[in-house]
Amino acid sequence: MFNVLFDVVSNVLSFIPRVLDVIPNEFYARGLGYIGAGIAVFTGFGTGIGQGIAASKAAEAVGRQPEAQSKILVTTLITQAVAETTGIYGLIIAFILTSK
């Protein structure tokens, strides 16, 4: 079993010296652009965590005082929309990269 593992790992690692032999053709820039677009959308990671914490505090506040629910709903929608902006910046960079 370990023989199979060593074979697989050595075949994968043998690509590393051959990375510098790449000859760019006309799709090189667009291909790397697509990879960059995928990395750019990763800004949604922090945005999702932050907005989830804010939503949990809003749910706690409604649980503590149920008659203030409509005010808390309006405040939550507005603050979530403002905090979502940085996640959208990553999406816009991805749009620009994939349409080049």
Binding site: I78, A81, V82, I88, L91, I92
Partner: protein, 223 residues
């Protein structure tokens, strides 16, 4: 000359024509309701649509008066008009027409106009002392304060553009994937992305304009 003009008009992008149509519809409604309300004497009982319009505009004016105080007449018309225009533009996707707000030309023009309205509110309320507001908490932080006056232009425009354009992209892919089944699948997505996010983004952009303008008003009694 005439050839150049006709060439220019026929090569205008489609979202520009749609935006002009939306503006014409809003202008016609406003002119009609303004004419009817002006001809109302205090003894008449107004009909239902006029009462609705009066109640809505009174409510919004009271809300803005709460934030801005004495000079609310300089901010309220722009805020309400921008709100109605952005709402109607976001909903255009439901009618199978491109919405103007998914193009940065329209959103940046809204946001630059909002910047001018906010700065004018500061100048109207405080005179030339509005420009000394950048030195306010600490004088060495002035470059930071100057930059943070110009950043809302970019952030408000890109927030609106990003929300509506990503919804439109998703719906385009969905229509292409589902072919004839799109009648069953896509109404829910239209409801969430076009109408839901469109309403939320309208609220956000109008409220942000009002709040930024209220931060520049200093010396009145009503804050």
């Amino acid at each position: 000359m005439l050839q150049w003009l006709s060439d220019y008009i026929t090569h205008l992008p489609s979202y520009f024509i749609i935006s002009l149509i939306v503006m014409t519809v809003i202008a016609l409604f406003a002119i009609y309701f303004g004419y009817r309300v002006e001809r109302l004497s205090p003894k008449d009982k107004p009909s239902k649509p006029i009462t609705l319009v009066l109640v809505a505009i009174d409510g919004i004016n009271a809300f803005i008066k709460n934030y801005i105080g004495k000079h609310w007449t300089y901010v309220a018309p722009f805020a309400l008009t921008m709100g109605i225009y952005v709402f109607l533009s976001n909903i255009m996707g439901v009618i199978a027409v491109e919405s103007p707000t998914q193009f940065t030309a329209i959103t940046f023009s809204m946001s630059i106009t909002a910047f001018f309205v906010i700065q004018s509110t500061g100048i109207i309320s405080q005179g030339w002392r509005h420009f000394l507001g950048v030195f306010q908490p600490l004088a060495p932080l002035a470059p930071l304060n100057i930059v943070s006056e110009f950043v809302p232009i970019v952030s408000m425009a890109l927030r609106l553009f990003g929300n509506i354009a990503s919804g439109a992209l998703l719906l385009g892919l969905l229509y292409r994937v589902s072919g004839w089944f799109s009648i069953i699948i896509t109404p829910a997505f239209h409801l969430v992305f076009d109408i839901g996010f469109g309403t939320i983004q309208t609220l956000v952009i109008v409220l942000l304009t009002i709040i930024f303008a209220s931060m520049k008003v200093k010396e009145e009694d009503f804050q």
